[in-house]
Amino acid sequence: MKKLMVLFVVMAMVLPMALTGCGGTTTAPEEAQAPAGNPEGDTIVIGVFEPMTGDAAQGGQLTVEGIELAHELYGEVNGKEIELKVVDNKSDQAEATTAVARLIDKEKANVIVGSYGSSYSMAAGETLKNQGVPAIGCSPTNPLVTKDNDYYFRGCFIDPFQGTVLANYAIDDKNFKKAALLVNKGNAYSVGLANYFKKAFEAKGGEIVAEQQYQKGDQDYTAQLNTIKQANPDVIILPGEYAEMALGVDQARKMGLEVPFFGGDTVDVDKFLDYGDLVEGVTISSHFDPAQPELTDETAKFMEAFEAKYPDRTPGAFHALGYDAYLLAVDAIERAGSADSDKIRDALAETNGFEGATGVITLDENGDATKPAVIREVKDSEFKYVATVQPE
């Protein structure tokens, strides 16, 4: 009897934890309204918060490389020197909030660039809004990042578009009718992209035959893949980090599941290609491919500078997006003619026809860029350009 009571108490303690998940919700700390930025300073401070360590570190580091490249080319605006302050958000939502608060309070950032990973951008959004400092996301693609936040902008397309691009490519070009989803349940990007894919895929007459989940940090997907195998899909959609994609593909192949894998832009990093034969044939939607048409003069400039700095590497989407986000900030400061955060915000909102490395960027009323997407496929351990998809 006593043991049953104990069991009951334990379950009562454990279940709520299980139901709310371990991802944890983050609330932005209530900060007192303080004058943001340093409009009177001798330099302009562009603050960067990106995941330099943790799960999303690879994407964050590539983005920062792109930002630093842009900073080397465009180190001055309105006759003032630009200072770049990079803070690690450690691939953690709570840390993202702290990182942004630090950039605003301590580093006196006039404008902020970041972050790779929609979850981290969304966590920081509230602080940015409350403090009145504008931010430009390099690659957070979840629509909620800029929604109801007048201070958040981004130089990339958003997931409803990316999901549609993948779904159209699967149905129209590949003639796939049945898709399975393997989703990171605790990740806003992953859940969002999967849902938009599902919506677009079903609208075109496709069928989702299995929906499976995993959690951040999981390495074994065999149970989920086994259920997917049972449902016999034509394609598996795994919107996750590149390492998760590699593990998923490997485990599927080992259990004799030979269907193609589709993923999103998070897989577009050169480290993914280190997995070699394992990831051959993986197809992704992304932001940029040097081979895509309709690029700008800035693209050539970016490519040249990149190749001069990193002779052994090829630039990826996150390099280019980091580069563009920085350029958008500089452009807005120039047009605002001031380092005042609110004036920069207003200038950003008016960005129209800006020529960046990833193409021409016009920000809509939500602060999102309307841009084409590219489809890339891993062939001979390299990303190969497949197609460009225009926004509707």
Partner: protein
Amino acid sequence: MGRGKLFCLYDIGLGDEKMTINFFMENLANGVSLGSLYALIAIGYTMVYGILRLINFAHGDLLMVAAYAVFFMIAAMVPWWIAAILAVVITAIVGVLIEKAAYRPLRNSPRISVLISAIGVSFLIENLGLVVFSGVPRAVYRPEIFDKSVSMGGITTSSLTFYIIGATVILLLALVYLLNKTKTGMAMRALAISFDTASLMAINVNRIVSFTFAIGSSLAAFGGIMWALKYPQINPLMGVFPGLKCFVAAVLGGIGNVTGAVIGGFILGIVEIMAIAIFPSLAGYRDAFAFIILILILLFKPTGIMGEKMTEKV
């Protein structure tokens, strides 16, 4: 009683129409594959505890040390099997150094101090790893013999599964032999009963403790290498969850009992895979399963499956 509760999960699932025999067998194979890995790592955990009554929280992080050692040696063009052997040696040395630096000075302190020191060492290794290796996950080279899939009776699984199970069984037998049939093993068992009495019997306590750590760390290294082969990516925090889960496996089997650790590892692996296969919506909480098992075991059978009540060491 604790076991009865666990097995009722299967009964619910078996009634499910999706649960065909083939599906069940494939999941069982995956569960055994994961379980064998847990078992391999849990052996080292439980052996160190059995001899020294110390939960070496750094055990999981030694996996990471071994995996990175192999990674860098292979990057330096060392053949993989030489890299693996050297990594085991390096990890054993690291394990012995940890004992000398962090545990030996506290040998006569209350046991809680050593435990806290072990947690400190664990954090130290993890953060050192983050600084030295950076947090970016890296792809691991997998030799071809481990990279095949094997089909048997409609079930397809990785060839690596058989190597891991083989390694687990061989290491278990070797360890049982070492502990029960050799002089060193006798000395280790004597230490488990009493350090003071053992030293009176002309046993060199420091030497035996170092040896125990060397063996425990080598086992962790084997586990780490196998882990990196099964999930071919490494990062500085890769040892944290395997370490915790194998601790659960060791407790489940009866901490201090090496055979129990193997059984605990297999049960944990199979439960994890089966639970997700039967309740896909719970996939996000897979780590919680291990800890619920831990809580239940501690409540209902604290000595574990194979464990016996041991008298407290004075």
